[in-house]
Every structure is written in structure tokens, then in C-alpha cells.
């Protein structure tokens, strides 16, 4: 069966029923639910084009309601328009796309399985208005403030000259050796800065490593090839390579032809880089940044040429392929630790300490939240869900 009778019904109720003699329309007068059961308010945390209507059912009624119709008007005494038909017995409706700061009146109709219609009193007025602060995002704000605070704290500490310990990261230990190997073999280094855009933080992390690698390569006068997939990343990596040569006093070594744009096509790029690997035979391949399915095309072709390969990505789905096909792989967060690790710059290293502390705090929250959760206390869950 369908709701074919819906439009008839709507005609019957569109006029404010309390202004009509009840027996002319329906065999039984419609029951009216008191306004106290309804809660009408501006929807919080939005741009001001929505109101939220909530209600409760008298005992036993919810089971017999088969659908709900929400009506709306701009004045209490004009015919209302149907705005929504909801099957089932919901308890909330969010009316969206209404103008800001305009009063509206609502009425809710409940259709029961027995064919009765129960209606609410006229509700309202209510106005939708925009908010300046998203209270639902407080948990994220607290998290960000805490974390940025920690990072700043350790940065300030580092300004005071505090020495920091860093554990070994094999993939990064191998960087200098890999550059040295290319130099010995008299072959170039290939650096792939990932396939993503510049606003992907993994790309930025990769470009920081590129800066370090280029400086080392410049010292050894080993050429470095940087093919790019993204136009903006191309402009940035070109700048970085140029600056790196300048900073070690060898601007003469910079050849604008070594940093180039290939194509935005994911597999077109993979085809071209595979070609470079086969023909220019780089002795060392860096595959660092954000990758998608092409990761294994690059890594396997590189392995076939016998190059030493250092990969790094935060793409969880591509890590398995790098782990399998490359000599060293920076896993996830290790990629972000690289800049600090390679430069040993105290300010950069300091933030690693902050990262560790945050991990510790989040781990503790996870343990405590879970313990509470097991006993049915779930506000920690709501806190994280609020994010």
C-alpha cells in the first residue's frame, strides 16, 4: 500500500482545524497534543537556516503512530503548508533551508495505524539565527589547544637549549648512505615527492626531506631528478632544490631541467617515472609523500633496476606495498619525524617530544575511557564523538 491518500488528508488538515466545526470534516474530533510536549528551537551551531522540533509521545501512542506530517506557516492564523512527511514515529525533525531571523509557526500531525489523526497545537513562533561559535566542536578545540600548547611548551624549552634524545629511525639513518651510494656509482638520485597536492601535509613533509637530500647531493655533486605530478608541488620543489643548492654554496649546480612537471594523470605519471627508472638508472630512489595505487608500480620498477629504495608515506593503504618492495620504509608518523631527525634542529626536534606526550595522553584517555565505558560510563565516548 502507499500513501496515496496523503494529499486528501493534507487538504483536510491544511486549514487550521480548530477554526472549523470538527464534525464537518472527521467522524471524530482530532485529539490535540498539548504544546508542552513540543520543544521548538533554533538549531544550534549552524549558519542560521534551520530550526529543530522535538516532541515526546503520551504513553502508548508512539507504537500506533505510522507517520508524521510537519506543517509550517509564517503566521499563526494562515493556512499551513506541509513541509515534511516522515514515515514511522520519529521524535525530532530539523527543518532546514528556512530564512534567518524570520518567525515561523509549526504544527505536527500524527497519523495512527487506526486511521486517526492527532495534531499538535500551533507551535511557535520560532526564529532561526546563526551562531558565532560551534559548541559541538568544543572537544576538538580543547584537543587542539592542549596539543598546540604542548608543542609550544617544548619549543620554548628547546630555545633554552635542552638536549633531546631521538630513537633511531632506520629509514632515515639510511638516507646519507643511499646518497653516498649513488655518488660512488656515478648515477643520479630520483626523488618522487608523492602524488598529492601541496595542502596535503604528507607532501610538505616530503618536501622538507627533499631539501635535506638535495643539500647532501649537492655536497657530493650528485645529480638529483625530481619529477612532479602536481603543478603547485612542481613550483615548490623547484624552489626547494634551487634554495638547497644555494644554501650549500653551489647555485651553479642547479639545473632547472632536473625538476620538472610530468602530468596530472596518476598512471601517466607512473608510466613516465617507470621509464625514467629504466633509462636513467638512478642508483637511489626516494618515494616519499602521499601515494595511491601507483605506489607498487614505482617501487617494483625501482626494485627491478636494482636501485636502493627509501619510501615513506602516511597512506595506510599503500604502506604494505612499500614495506614489501622497498629497502626502507618510513611508516606513518615517522615521515613527519623526518625533518627533525635529519636536520637535528632543536626547535623541530622539540615538537617530537610534544607528539610523544600527546600520544601518552591520548593512550591514557583511551585506557581510562575504556575502563569507564566497561562500567557503562560513556561521557569520554561522547567527548570523542563530539569531534
Amino acid at each position: 500500500m502507499g500513501w496515496v491518500s496523503l494529499s486528501l488528508l493534507w487538504l483536510a488538515v491544511a486549514a487550521p482545524p480548530d477554526s472549523l466545526p470538527a464534525d464537518t470534516l472527521a467522524p471524530r474530533p482530532p485529539r490535540v497534543l498539548e504544546a508542552a510536549r513540543f520543544h521548538l528551537q533554533d538549531t544550534p551551531n549552524d549558519a542560521g537556516h534551520s530550526v529543530t522540533l522535538r516532541w515526546t509521545y503520551p504513553p502508548g501512542l508512539q507504537d500506533s503512530v505510522r507517520a508524521v506530517i510537519v506543517l509550517r506557516a509564517e503566521a499563526p492564523d494562515v493556512p499551513m503548508q506541509e513541509v515534511k512527511f516522515i514515515p514511522g514515529a520519529p521524535t525530532v525533525y530539523k527543518d532546514m533551508g528556512i530564512p534567518s531571523r524570520t518567525p515561523f509557526y509549526y504544527r505536527v500531525l500524527f497519523l495512527t495505524v487506526t486511521g486517526d489523526t492527532i495534531q499538535s497545537a500551533v507551535l511557535g513562533p520560532v526564529e532561526a539565527y546563526p551562531q558565532w561559535f560551534h559548541t559541538g566542536r568544543i572537544p576538538i578545540l580543547l584537543g587542539v589547544v592542549l596539543y598546540v600548547g604542548l608543542l609550544l611548551w617544548f619549543i620554548v624549552q628547546a630555545r633554552g637549549g635542552k638536549e633531546l634524545f631521538l630513537r633511531k629511525i632506520p629509514g632515515l639513518e639510511a638516507v646519507d648512505e643511499a646518497i653516498g651510494r649513488a655518488t660512488e656509482m656515478g648515477r643520479p638520485i630520483l626523488y618522487v615527492p608523492g602524488l598529492s597536492t601541496i595542502d596535503d601535509i604528507a607532501t610538505i613533509a616530503s618536501l622538507n626531506i627533499l631539501s635535506h637530500v638535495t643539500r647532501k647531493a649537492a655536497e657530493y655533486e650528485t645529480p638529483i631528478i625530481v619529477p612532479n605530478r602536481n603543478p603547485v608541488v612542481y613550483t615548490v620543489s623547484r624552489e626547494i632544490v634551487k634554495e638547497a643548492y644555494t644554501s650549500v654554496g653551489r647555485p651553479d649546480l642547479f639545473d632547472p631541467d632536473q625538476v620538472f612537471y610530468v602530468t596530472d594523470s596518476q598512471f601517466g605519471y607512473a608510466a613516465a617515472v617507470s621509464g625514467i627508472m629504466m633509462r636513467d638508472r638512478p642508483a637511489t630512489n626516494f618515494l616519499i609523500g602521499m601515494f595511491w595505487a601507483e605506489s607498487l608500480i614505482l617501487a617494483e620498477t625501482g626494485a627491478a633496476t636494482g636501485a636502493i629504495q627509501i619510501a615513506g608515506t602516511d597512506a595506510v593503504t599503500q604502506l604494505p606495498f612499500f614495506i614489501v618492495a622497498c629497502d626502507y620504509t618510513l611508516i606513518g608518523e615517522e615521515l613527519y619525524a623526518a625533518s627533525a631527525y635529519l636536520s637535528r634542529e632543536p626547535l623541530l626536534m622539540a615538537t617530537l617530544k610534544g607528539q610523544d606526550w600527546m600520544k601518552f595522553i591520548l593512550g591514557t584517555a583511551l585506557v581510562l575511557g575504556s575502563l569507564l565505558g566497561l562500567f557503562g560510563i560513556t561521557w569520554v565516548h561522547h567527548f570523542f564523538a563530539g569531534g
Binding site: 500500500m1 502507499g2 500513501w3 496515496v4 512527511f85 516522515i86 514515515p87 514511522g88 627491478a304
Partner: protein, 285 residues
């Protein structure tokens, strides 16, 4: 002996590629018909369609493009064949612009095989942008969302739509997709209108969709080439019982290829490891 071990641990790439290519191509040309075991999510979808009375209507949504064709297209064909062979009316729509042609091609092909009448037994409404609005709209009135079919014929003039208005008259929606469409179908059509949803998804996406089966939000699910092959197997059995000519086993062949490929990789890895350990033993000795 030494020589053999060395060879096994150092097979060159071309050899591996050659072996794998044969292992994948040969089953496509000469189906092996490895034994098929039908997994519960596939069986559940089949059983659900089987339980529908003749003349019910179901909606098949082509939500995939050619990029994931090998996995999803055979599912679409298999479900179409099942429904049409059981005289269930089929409404085809498409929510991925890259799939418009595929949807049309598939539905026409199966309709021709089973001598079905356009407009009465099946229709193809074509593509609509704006996923959420379309899914919600179908819960109110198909006629409003798709005033005309793919060919521009007003759907009011099609016999099929005389008693099909919205989800209440559509027994099932099956979304074939390599992306998030099935989840949206659940969010819009199932959660709001209680419509039954099933999904045919690529292997890669399947992992994300298992929870929907556990919670019962999906009636059933076909996952990857394997799910398609299992459904083809069930449909083939049905066709045989009904004395209909059996359809070409597209995914069954594909699954043969995948099985052989997996076994070849496993055997290669084992050979490599045997060689590796023997070499290590020799070096140690």
C-alpha cells in the same frame, strides 16, 4: 642441486610474469569451474529475491563506472538474470554518470535473452545527479524524480509505473558500486523509509561494508569477483532447473583466474622460501 636452488630463489621477473599471465588467461578461455561455495551474504540476497512474489518490482542502481567493471558488471547481469527469470519487474537507474551506458547495455542484453517487454517487465530511467535527493525522492514519488525514462518517454505512460509510486511498491534496491553509494542508500532509503537494501561492491570496498551486514542494514551483499561468481553459480543452477539456456560464466571464469593467480603466487613464495632455507643451510654448513 646448487644450481637448481639458485634458480628457484632467483627466478627472473619475466618468468614470473609469464607463468602468471598463463595462469590468468587460460582459465578465461577454458573455464576450469573450480568448486564454488556460496557464502551467506550472497545466499541471503538470492533467497530474498527468490522469496518475492512474481510481479514484484525491484530497483537496480548502476552506481559504478567502467573502472570497476570486471567486478561489478557481472553482478549486475547475474541479479538482472535472476530477477527477470523469476518474472520480477526491474527498474534500472544510474547514479554514476560513467555508468549510464553500462546500465543500458546490461539491461537490454538480459531482457533480450529472456524475451522481456520494455515498459511492462522492465524500464531504464537513466542517470540522475545529486545522490541524496534522488534516493530520498524515490521514497516520495518516482514520477517526480524521473518524470521520463532514459528515452524521454513520460513514465506515466509506462504500464510498469501504474502501480509503482515509491519505496512501498519496490521490494528491494540493489546498488552496484565501487564507492560509497550503498552506504548512502542505507542512510537515505533504509533509515528514512525502511526500504530493503542490498549491495554489490568491489573487493576493495567490501571490507567497509561488512558491518552493514551484521546490523542487518543490507539484505545481502556480493563482494568482489567472488561474490559475483557465487551469484552466477546460483543463477546458473536456477536456469538449468528452469530449462533456460545457461548464461556465460563471466565472474566464474574470473574467479578461476583469481584462484589460480593466488595459488601461483603462494607456490612461488613457497618455492622461493625452500630455496632460501636450503641456501642458508648450505652457507651455514
Amino acid at each position: 642441486m646448487n644450481n637448481l636452488i639458485h634458480k628457484l630463489t632467483h627466478l627472473n621477473r619475466q618468468t614470473i610474469y609469464g607463468i602468471l599471465a598463463l595462469g590468468i588467461i587460460l582459465p578465461l578461455l577454458f573455464p576450469l569451474r573450480l568448486p564454488e561455495h556460496v557464502s551467506p551474504p550472497v545466499q541471503r540476497l538470492y533467497d530474498y529475491i527468490e522469496s518475492l512474489p512474481e510481479g514484484s518490482a525491484i530497483l537496480l542502481s548502476v552506481d559504478f563506472g567502467p573502472d570497476v567493471l570486471p567486478e561489478t558488471y557481472p553482478m549486475f547481469l547475474a541479479v538482472l538474470r535472476h530477477a527477470m527469470a523469476r518474472n520480477i519487474r526491474v527498474i534500472g537507474i544510474c547514479l554514476n554518470p560513467a555508468g549510464i551506458g553500462l546500465g543500458l547495455e546490461g539491461i537490454q542484453k538480459v531482457a533480450k535473452e529472456l524475451h522481456k517487454q520494455y515498459g511492462t517487465d522492465y524500464v531504464y530511467l537513466g542517470f540522475k545527479p545529486n545522490l541524496g535527493a534522488t534516493m530520498l525522492g524515490l521514497g516520495e514519488d518516482v514520477h517526480k524524480v524521473f518524470p521520463t525514462d532514459y528515452y524521454g518517454t513520460p513514465i506515466d505512460s509506462l504500464p510498469l509505473f501504474r502501480n509503482v509510486r515509491n519505496y512501498n511498491d519496490i521490494a528491494l534496491v540493489v546498488s552496484f558500486s565501487g564507492a560509497s553509494h550503498p552506504a548512502l542508500w542505507v542512510a537515505y532509503a533504509n533509515a528514512r523509509y525502511g526500504e530493503k537494501i542490498a549491495a554489490g561492491v568491489t573487493g576493495v570496498m567490501a571490507a567497509d561494508y561488512y558491518p552493514y551486514l551484521q546490523t542487518g542494514q543490507f539484505v545481502g551483499m556480493l563482494a568482489g569477483m567472488k561474490g559475483a561468481a557465487e551469484y552466477e553459480y546460483l543463477v546458473e543452477k536456477l536456469f538449468r532447473e528452469k530449462g533456460l539456456p545457461t548464461p556465460p560464466p563471466f565472474a566464474i571464469r574470473g574467479m578461476d583466474s583469481i584462484s589460480i593467480a593466488h595459488l601461483l603466487i603462494i607456490v612461488l613464495v613457497i618455492i622461493g622460501n625452500i630455496g632460501y632455507f636450503m641456501e642458508r643451510k648450505q652457507k651455514g654448513a
